[in-house]
Amino acid sequence: MSKVVEISPTTRHEGHSKLVLKVNDDGIIERGDWLSITPVRGVEKLAIGKTMEQVPKIASRVCGICPIAHTLAGVEAMEASIGCEIPEDAKLLRYILQCANRMHSHAIHNILSLPDMYLPGTDVKINPFTKEEPVRSVALRIQRLREIGQTIGEIVGGEAIHPSNPRVGGMYKNITPRAKAKIYDLAKESRVLAQEQMEFMIAIFRNYQKRDWAEVGGVEVPIPKDLGYHNQGYMATAPVYGSSSLDETPMWFPERFTEVRPWDWYMGEVEIDEADPNYPIGGTTPVGTKAWPQMEACTGVPLYDGQPVEVGPRARQAIFKNYDEKGTIGLQIARQMEFPETAYGIIDALDALDTSGSVLADEIPQGDGSLGWAANEAPRGTDVHLAKVKDGRVQYYGMLVPTTWNFPTCSRALTGAPWRLAEVVMRGYDPCVSCATHMLVIDEDKRLVAQKLIQ
């Protein structure tokens, strides 16, 4: 006889989401639904009629965590629609911005994951804010990596949080030789730190994998060897940057994408009949409360080839680097493996960058209403923006953000895990829920995506 447990709200990520879990008598999840409860906001509607310069700026404000990914995907979706090729040096600057953003984001996610983990050889959980060694030096290294990522992002992007330098047609400004030298120094410093951080984190995750149990809210919970396993596919468009419909060989295929309503995918109305007041933080939802995931979920459910897919670090490693480790720990380790590449990526791009080169296209067409898309490999996964621009104004705009792709996939990955570890599985995906909220329901005959992308 299965019981229902609800963890709401989930913690240690952006936005509001909850877990509704059907569990068996041993507390093992038979079916898990992870859903966003952040209200729908309709950025797509707001974008219509605005200029193509305004819309990426609006997209950047959708979320406090991923402004860089949304700016780049937004700008490139406009460029894809109008058919504008940007100069090489502008691409290199965007690449640097991408790597700097990933460096900061993965580092902050370490702070998010560490409290679930143990100091190797002990039963002591890690507190990333402790002033004591050995954790203090790790925390300082994480802070330094974040600071370097943010500083480089600010130099190249114009502002540290919502980048102002990227624009339709390239970038507003190239960087000065002095700024280039400064970024070099920072990237060289981060190269060493990123390597050390990767090795440390992998050791911590491997240690967790070897453990038999984890303590959650005063209960010792067995850690299954297949924690977070799922059989869904992966979707990624590049190891680092992304792809767009302007590419010679685009890596994302709109015709393979469909979306269903939460009603068709999530479980119906249930009543909570198991609760644990000691579960961190503040206990689970009390017994007797009703939950109705298919009505409460605020996102559509995007499918690729008719199935939910995983996006993010492991998807990138699996598709481009033959990485094959499944489960939550496999996903976490794949993320750490991207650390050094962020620093080397910046250095390689700087080597190729000509600071006196032009960073703006000679001609910026105003668009004829063709559909263009751009996928940016954000830290959390593929962030796809679609746009139609006509005479400089946006006629259609859509955002398919990483966590929206991961919601249904992670829900599948919960099956077989003890319910008290559901959040550990969820956090593996580095959720960013606030921008995962959108409602883009495509009509039955797929009119939107069936059009020829490049006229």
Binding site: T11, R12, H13, E14, G15, P39, V40, R41, G42, V43, K45, L46, I58, S60, R61, V62, C63, G64, I65, P67, I108, H109, I111, L112, L114, P115, P128, F129, L140, Q143, R144, R146, E147, Q150, T151, E154, E159, A160, I161, H162, I281, S434
Partner: protein, 186 residues
């Protein structure tokens, strides 16, 4: 340099009506020539984790932090107040990534002098995005800029009072919107 001695952060989301107040004030501040030890940041929604959690161990120590945001303190729309971190309700500026729901400002307040300048909003959209500030909140921008400059000890009042269309414009003159002649009183 990510930070300087004085950091002024405009917080809020322009996609939610009056919540765009902080970034709008920052936009005005960025037009001014401020001392080298001052950094003005449009923090948008990312202040807690992009700024506050990084300040503790920053390369350049921050001594003073001024946050500009909307605050519901039961006043008339457009009224402005000064708050200290002690006045904040639990949950304000909570970092989405904090693991124990700790509040970064409460950790920072012992090492950094923190002032929050709050403006009473009129309309904050809740479900659907909407751009633009209400008139009352728009009018609070110059006042807030003056308060910020006073906080950091910069004499700029005269310049702000005279951002008209010409040097001899008087305060409150329009910039010649459609249907009005330049210089006509608003």
């Amino acid at each position: 340099m990510l930070f300087r001695e004085i950091v002024i952060a405009g917080c809020g989301n322009p996609l939610y009506g009056d919540d765009g107040f902080g970034p709008a004030v920052v936009e005005e501040l960025q037009k001014l020539q401020l001392p080298d030890n001052v950094k003005v940041v449009d923090a948008g929604l990312g202040a807690p984790h992009f700024l506050f959690t990084l300040m503790e161990d920053a390369e350049v120590p921050v001594k003073k932090l001024i946050i500009i945001d909307i605050a519901d303190f039961g006043a008339n729309p457009g009224d402005v107040t000064k708050l200290r971190p002690e006045d904040l309700p639990p949950g304000a500026y909570r970092d989405a990534h904090s693991w124990d729901l700790s509040e970064p400002l409460q950790r920072l307040k012992d090492i950094i002098d923190i002032t929050i300048i709050g403006c009473q909003p009129k309309r904050v959209a809740s479900h659907e995005f909407e751009l633009g500030l209400t008139e009352e909140v728009e009018e609070a921008i110059p006042k807030t800029v003056r308060i910020v400059l006073e906080e950091i000890g910069v004499e700029y009042g005269a310049a702000i009072n005279h951002q008209g269309t010409h040097l001899w414009a008087s305060p409150g003159e329009t910039t010649g919107d459609a249907g009005k002649k330049p210089g006509e009183q608003a």
